[in-house]
């Protein structure tokens, strides 16, 4: 089989292990929670921001989007968001609702990111939502699917809930994007610090509270250790970057005091991030790396209170809900 045919089969073969309709329900439910608890409170604060201090991201420029969202528009935008969220969740005019939600989310996310602060946790879900809006099979597990199903009885419920096998390309594309995001994170560490990053000292600095997030906490900056003198002309010291911020927990501070622990955690982080693309080479590797990814994000949350649960929600796409349900059913019947 030629390479092209193999790629074609890998990308487009019908997939029976992924149920995009169920993923859509879970993913959109997470967006609804995110909108209610984070995005709209943030938009309300951002509405009064001055356009003089706008640093628009490319999406704003490409589509000529207004940023920030003008205050009088907020109630209308809120209403539209509720409508497309509910329609996407229930699956009423699913395709139209998903496309509208993906576009709305890109706009709102871009306005939030257009003042100098990049909300990294929302970037991957925004792209996954775009893929989902275009994906065949995303309209399973929906009111639309129920209405158009000609079958009756248990067969109808199964077909409506899980949908028919569809081309697997949306799952593959999301997988490539997930790999790109993790690899980018690992590559950035190697690009800026080399494999010296694995010595644990950078992680120790953050875990010990060297740069904290919280009311009254200032943004702090890091100096370059290798910039040429000419590049230090502004202040003479040579500031290279802003420090990122976290809220170290008791566990984080305890680990931060141990050079062995910070070294091990740094190596683990690099392994997970740089190694993530191996998931493209088989289901077993995918399962292993998803478990490692869960451990990484839960570990970051437990030590620095940095919430990347959005990535874990994306992982739900790779779960075979149909097999899970069938196995659960078989076990239940055996129990009887």
């Amino acid at each position: 089989m030629s390479v092209l045919r193999r790629i074609d089969a890998w990308a487009f073969a019908p997939g029976e292990r992924h149920q995009l309709g169920i993923f859509r329900v879970l993913f959109v439910a997470w967006f609804a929670y995110e909108y209610a608890t984070r995005l709209f409170p943030r938009l309300a604060r951002h509405a009064e921001r001055s356009t003089e201090l706008l640093a628009p991201v490319s999406v704003v420029g490409w589509f000529g989007l207004p940023a920030p969202v003008p205050p009088p528009w907020l109630p209308v935008v809120g209403l539209v968001a509720v409508l497309v969220l509910v329609a996407s969740l229930l699956g009423v005019r699913t395709r139209v609702a998903l496309v509208a939600l993906a576009a709305l989310n890109l706009w709102l996310g871009a306005t939030v990111a257009s003042f100098g602060y990049t909300p990294h946790a929302s970037a991957l879900p925004a792209l996954v939502l775009v893929v989902l809006a275009c994906a065949p099979g995303a309209d399973a597990c929906s009111v639309d699917a129920w209405l158009r199903s000609p079958r009756r009885g248990a067969g109808r419920a199964t077909e409506v809930l899980f949908g028919r096998p569809q081309s697997i390309w949306p799952v593959r594309l999301v997988l490539v994007l997930v790999c790109a995001f993790y690899f980018a994170s690992g590559y950035a560490k190697v690009r800026y610090a080399g494999f010296r990053w694995a010595d644990g000292r950078t992680l120790a600095f953050y875990l010990q509270g060297g740069s904290r997030l919280g009311p009254g906490e200032p943004q702090r900056f890091l100096e370059s250790t290798d910039a040429p003198p000419a590049a230090r002309f502004r202040d003479g010291w040579g500031i290279e970057d802003y420090a990122y911020v976290g809220r170290p927990t008791v566990l984080g501070r305890a680990l931060g005091r141990s050079p062995a622990a910070t070294r091990a955690l740094s190596c683990f982080t690099l392994l997970v991030e740089l190694g993530f693309p191996v998931v493209l080479f088989g289901r077993a590797l995918l399962a292993i790396w998803l478990v490692l990814g869960v451990a990484l994000h839960l570990g970051i949350d437990a030590t620095l209170r940095i919430d990347f649960s959005a990535y874990l929600v994306v992982y739900l796409l790779f779960i075979d809900w149909k097999s899970l349900a069938q196995n659960a059913l078989v076990r239940r019947l055996q129990h009887r």
């Binding site: 909300p119 610090a193 230090r232």
Partner: protein, 167 residues
């Protein structure tokens, strides 16, 4: 899967993955595309830290550190934009602001532009007038400021940023 369907899927993939790869190579911070540079720079706990501030000078002579809240921004948002887009990193390809071949003259022009914008927003939001801004950098060791340098001064009336050559 029809050919048209495949072509659409490939086009979507090329656009999304291509833009993400562009952000990684750039490197850029261009939400939703990112080079994911969080926590990537090497920094040991005993290395110095810095704080950057703008100090306002009002007509009655009062001076105070400009708060991000005075501009309707959060601290991280304001300082990160100030640094990456306007001040400039020693890294000419900082993900949030590329300044290749940056010079003192370009730096002064950028700071003049920023301070002019800030003066307008500050006066509109607070109702107070400002005569000048001083751009100040403090070096911190073990959490305490050990040295302060004034990097330059912006005069609101003349719209001129005068850079101070560091020692």
């Amino acid at each position: 899967v029809t050919r048209a369907h495949k072509a659409f899927a490939v086009a979507l993939g090329v656009v999304l993955v291509g833009l993400e790869v562009r952000a990684v190579i750039g490197p850029y911070e261009d939400w939703p595309f990112t080079s994911a540079p969080m926590f990537a720079r090497y920094h040991a706990a005993d290395a110095p830290l810095y704080e950057v501030d703008l100090v306002t000078e009002e007509p009655a002579g009062q001076r105070h550190v400009l708060s991000a809240g005075d501009l309707g921004l959060g601290e991280l948002t304001f300082k990160r934009q100030l640094f990456a887009r306007w001040y400039g990193s020693t890294d000419p390809r900082h993900p949030a602001g590329h300044h290749p071949g940056d010079t003192p003259a370009q730096f002064s022009a950028r700071m003049a532009e920023l301070c002019g914008r800030i003066a307008r927003v500050y006066e509109r939001r607070t109702g107070r007038t400002v005569e000048a801004f001083e751009l100040e950098v403090r070096r911190l060791e073990e959490g305490r400021a050990v040295e302060r340098r004034v990097v330059g001064r912006y005069d609101v009336a003349s719209r001129h940023f005068e850079r101070r050559v560091p020692p």
